[in-house]
C-alpha cells in the first residue's frame, strides 16, 4: 500500500480477447488509480470477468496492452501476481481447511512471515468477524463469513491492487453492506479496487463505473457523471395495469424519447414533462388507455444502462 493516492496503478489500452471466433473483450481502454474503486457493471457474459482475468495474468490478451502495478500482464505475469489480490467468482478457499489453516496457507504462498503474519492473520480474523471460530472448517461457515474470509486471504499480503469478481453474489444484504464497508476502508488506505457486479445498486458505491456490454466498454465515469451524460431529458415512471399495451402505445408517440420496462412499471424519457405529459395522456385516452399515476424520478444506473447499450463505446474522459 505504498502507492501514493491518485497514482496510476492500472493502465489498459485497446485490450482485445478472442476465444476462437468469439470476441469476449473488444477494444477496452481505461486507467485506474490508487485509492479508487472502479466497478465493472454489465449483464452476465458481457466480458467483465474476462477483463479482470487478463489483468490478473490468468488469460493472455489477444491484442492491446495492459499494465498492472507498472508490469505488462502479458510479459511479466509473475510480477503482476506479487502485487495483486484476487477473489474469483467461485468460492476460492479450501473448504476442508480451517479458518486459520487457510490464512496460514495464503500467508505462506505470499511470503508473509513471523510477526507480520501473526498481525495480518489477526487483522483478517477480526475483519471477517470470525473471532472464536478460528478452528472451524471453512465449509461449515455461512456465505457472508466465507466471503469476508476470502477477502481477508486476498489482502493478507497487503496488495496495492485488489480484484474482486462478483464478490457479493449470493450473500445476504446485511453482509453485502459490511463487505462494502471493508472495501471503503481498503480504498481509503490507498488500495486500487476493481470490482465486477451485476447489482445496479451496488455499482452506485463505486467511484467510477465502467459499463460493459458485449465485450465493449460502453461508458466510464462516476455514477452522477454517467447519468448526466447518458440521459438527456427527464425520467418519468408510469404505473399502469397493462404494461404491454402501454409500452406499445408509448413507443409510437413522438414526445416519448425512450421507453422501457422497469420493475413493475415503465420508465420513459421526456424532454419537458410539464409540456409533454398532457399531450401523451390525451393521446392515450383516445386509445382507451390510462395510467394509474406518473412520477418524475431521478435516473438510476439501470436507466443509464438501457440508454447506453445501443450507443457506441465512449473513451475514458474522466481522468
Amino acid at each position: 500500500m505504498s502507492a501514493a493516492l491518485g497514482e496510476i496503478r492500472i493502465s489498459v489500452q485497446n485490450l482485445v480477447k478472442r476465444f476462437g471466433e468469439f470476441t469476449a473483450v473488444n477494444d477496452v481502454s481505461f486507467e485506474a488509480r490508487s485509492g479508487e474503486i472502479i466497478g465493472f457493471l454489465g449483464p452476465n457474459g458481457a466480458g467483465k470477468s474476462t477483463v479482470m482475468r487478463i489483468l490478473c495474468g490468468l488469460l493472455r490478451p489477444s491484442g492491446g496492452q495492459a499494465w498492472v502495478a507498472g508490469f505488462d500482464v502479458a510479459r511479466d505475469p509473475e510480477k503482476v501476481r506479487e502485487n495483486i489480490g484476487y477473489m474469483s467468482q467461485k468460492f476460492s478457499l479450501y473448504g476442508d481447511l480451517s479458518v486459520m489453516e487457510n490464512l496460514h496457507f495464503f500467508g505462506g504462498i505470499y511470503g508473509v512471515t513471523g510477526a507480520r503474519l501473526a498481525q495480518r492473520v489477526q487483522f483478517a480474523v477480526q475483519m471477517a468477524g470470525l473471532e472464536g471460530r478460528e478452528t472451524a472448517l471453512v465449509s461449515t461457515l455461512s456465505g457472508g463469513w466465507k466471503q469476508r474470509l476470502a477477502l481477508g486471504c486476498a489482502v493478507l499480503h497487503e496488495p496495492s491492487i485488489l480484484f474482486l469478481d462478483e464478490p457479493t453474489s449470493g450473500v445476504d444484504p446485511a453482509s453485502r453492506r459490511k463487505f462494502w464497508e471493508l472495501i471503503y476502508q481498503l480504498a481509503a488506505g490507498g488500495v486500487c479496487v476493481i470490482i465486477t457486479t451485476h447489482y445496479m445498486d451496488e455499482a452506485e458505491y463505486c467511484n467510477r463505473i465502467a459499463l460493459i456490454n458485449q465485450g465493449r466498454m460502453v461508458a466510464l465515469g462516476s455514477p452522477s457523471e454517467l447519468k448526466r451524460r447518458a440521459i438527456h431529458g427527464t425520467i418519468v415512471q408510469v404505473d399502469c395495469d397493462n404494461n404491454g399495451l402501454m409500452l406499445a402505445a408509448l413507443e409510437q408517440m413522438p414526445a416519448v424519447r425512450e421507453v422501457a420496462p422497469f420493475g413493475a412499471a415503465l420508465h420513459m424519457i421526456l424532454e419537458d414533462p410539464a409540456r409533454d405529459l398532457p399531450v401523451i395522456e390525451a393521446a392515450l385516452n383516445a386509445r382507451n388507455l390510462r395510467w394509474r399515476g406518473v412520477e418524475t424520478i431521478r435516473p438510476t444506473l439501470e436507466d443509464v444502462f438501457v440508454a447506453l447499450v445501443s450507443a457506441p463505446p465512449v473513451r475514458d474522459t474522466a481522468a
Partner: protein, 377 residues
C-alpha cells in the same frame, strides 16, 4: 524457488489427504488389499489340481498307482469314475483338469513284466496349467515305475541298475523354484506403481474441480514450487506404503530377502519419485478427478502387469514388444526388487536399472513442470 511457499503447499496437501476419506482409502486400504489379493491370487505354482480317476483294472497294483496321486500335494482326486462317459462329463463340466485312466490289463502286463500304458486325459483350455499338470503326472508315474522296477530286481535277486551319467542340477537364487518368491517382489512394484500414480493424479484436478485453482494460479507460486510442494507429502506417504508392502512381502508371504535395507530404501525412493511424477503429469493434463484417476490406473496397471516382467518373462517376448518394455518404468523396479530380494544385489550391481530410473525421473520432472500452465486459456 522459495522454501516457504513449498512448505505451505505441502502442509495444505497433507491436511487435505488426512481429511479426505477417498484419499485415505487409496493411501491405506488399496496397498493392503492389493497385496493380499495379488499375493494370494497370483501364484504360478500349481497345487491341488483336481483329478478324476477311472480304474478299469481294479487290482492292488492299480490302486497303488492311484494312491501315489492321492498322496501328491499337486493333485487332488475329486472323483472316482466308473465309465468313460463319466470321465468325459467331469472334464466337460470342469470338475477336473486331468483324468487318469488305468487300462483293464494293467496288472497282467505288470506281472508279465511288459510295458503298460496309462492314459491321461487333459483339459487344455488353460494350456499352461495343463502342461504343468502333465509334467507332474509323468513324475508320479515315473516314481511308480521306478518302484515296480526295484521290486522286480529284488524279486530276481539282481543288483539295482546303475545309471551311467546323471545331471545334478542346483538352482541358484530361488532354490525352491517357488514362483511366489519372484512374484511377491513384482507385486510390491505393481502396488507402488498403482497407488503412487493414483495419489498424485488427484492433486491438481481436485483444485480445478473445487474452483480453488483459479486463485492459486493468481498467486506468485511457481510451477516448480507447486509440483515439488504437491509431490513431497505423497512421497512421505508413498514411502510408508512401501514399508508396509515390503514388510508384508517379507514377514507375511515369507519372500526371502537377501539384500541390504539401504539399497532397498534408496531404489524404492527413486521409483516412487518416477511414479508420483507420472501421476502429477496426468493430473496436469486432465481437469476432472475421475478422469485423471482412471487414466492413471490405465497407464500404470496394464504396462506393469503385462510388460514389466512381473508376470511374463521379458526375454521371451517378441523383439518389438521387448523394445516397448524399455519404456515401462516398473520394468526397472521389478528387476531391482527381484535382484535385491533373491540375489542380494548391491547398488553398484543395479547400476543400469537405477540409471534408467534416474533418466526416467528427470524426463518426467521436466514434462510435469511444463505440462502445467498458470493460465486459464
Amino acid at each position: 524457488m522459495k522454501l516457504q511457499r513449498l512448505k505451505a503447499i505441502a502442509k495444505k496437501e497433507l491436511i487435505q489427504v488426512w481429511r479426505d476419506p477417498r484419499s485415505l482409502m487409496i493411501v491405506l486400504l488399496m496397498p493392503l488389499m492389493q497385496m493380499a489379493l495379488l499375493g494370494y491370487g497370483v501364484s504360478l505354482d500349481i497345487q491341488h489340481v483336481p483329478v478324476c480317476t477311472y480304474d478299469r483294472n481294479g487290482s492292488p497294483q492299480s490302486q497303488d498307482l492311484l494312491k501315489l496321486f492321492e498322496a501328491s500335494p499337486y493333485f487332488k482326486i475329486v472323483r472316482d469314475a466308473s465309465s468313460y462317459h463319466e470321465v468325459s462329463q467331469a472334464l466337460d463340466r470342469g470338475d477336473c483338469k486331468i483324468a487318469i485312466v488305468v487300462p483293464p490289463d494293467f496288472s497282467q502286463h505288470l506281472d508279465t513284466a511288459q510295458a503298460t500304458p496309462v492314459q491321461a486325459l487333459l483339459d487344455a483350455t488353460d494350456d499352461n496349467t495343463a502342461s504343468i499338470a502333465m509334467g507332474y503326472a509323468q513324475a508320479v508315474i515315473q516314481t511308480f515305475s521306478a518302484h515296480v522296477q526295484l521290486l522286480r530286481q529284488q524279486a530276481t535277486g539282481q543288483p539295482p541298475l546303475k545309471v551311467a551319467t546323471q545331471a545334478q542340477s542346483r538352482v541358484w537364487f530361488n532354490e525352491d523354484l517357488e514362483s511366489r518368491n519372484f512374484v511377491i517382489p513384482g507385486i510390491v512394484a505393481m502396488v507402488l506403481a498403482l497407488v503412487g500414480a493414483q495419489l498424485t493424479s488427484l492433486t491438481l484436478s481436485r483444485e480445478w474441480e473445487r474452483g480453488t485453482m483459479e486463485v492459486l494460479i493468481s498467486t506468485p507460486v511457481t510451477r516448480f514450487e507447486l509440483m515439488l510442494g504437491k509431490i513431497a507429502p505423497y512421497f512421505l506417504i508413498g514411502m510408508l506404503d512401501a514399508a508396509l508392502c515390503l514388510s508384508i512381502a517379507v514377514f507375511w508371504f515369507q519372500a526371502p530377502f537377501n539384500g541390504a535395507v539401504t539399497t532397498l530404501i534408496l531404489t524404492t525412493a527413486l521409483f516412487l519419485l518416477v511414479v508420483l511424477g507420472l501421476g502429477y503429469l496426468i493430473s496436469a493434463g486432465i481437469r476432472s478427478q475421475v478422469g485423471a484417476s482412471q487414466v492413471a490406473l490405465l497407464v500404470t496397471m496394464l504396462p506393469t502387469t503385462l510388460l514389466s516382467g512381473f508376470t511374463f518373462p521379458i526375454d521371451q517376448m517378441p523383439a518389438p514388444i521387448r523394445a516397448i518394455t524399455f519404456l515401462v518404468h516398473s520394468r526397472y523396479y521389478v528387476t531391482i526388487l527381484k535382484s535385491i530380494f533373491l540375489k542380494g544385489s548391491s547398488l553398484l550391481q543395479l547400476g543400469l536399472p537405477i540409471l534408467m530410473l534416474v533418466i526416467y525421473a528427470a524426463i518426467i520432472g521436466i514434462l510435469a513442470t511444463r505440462a502445467f500452465r498458470k493460465t486459464l486459456d
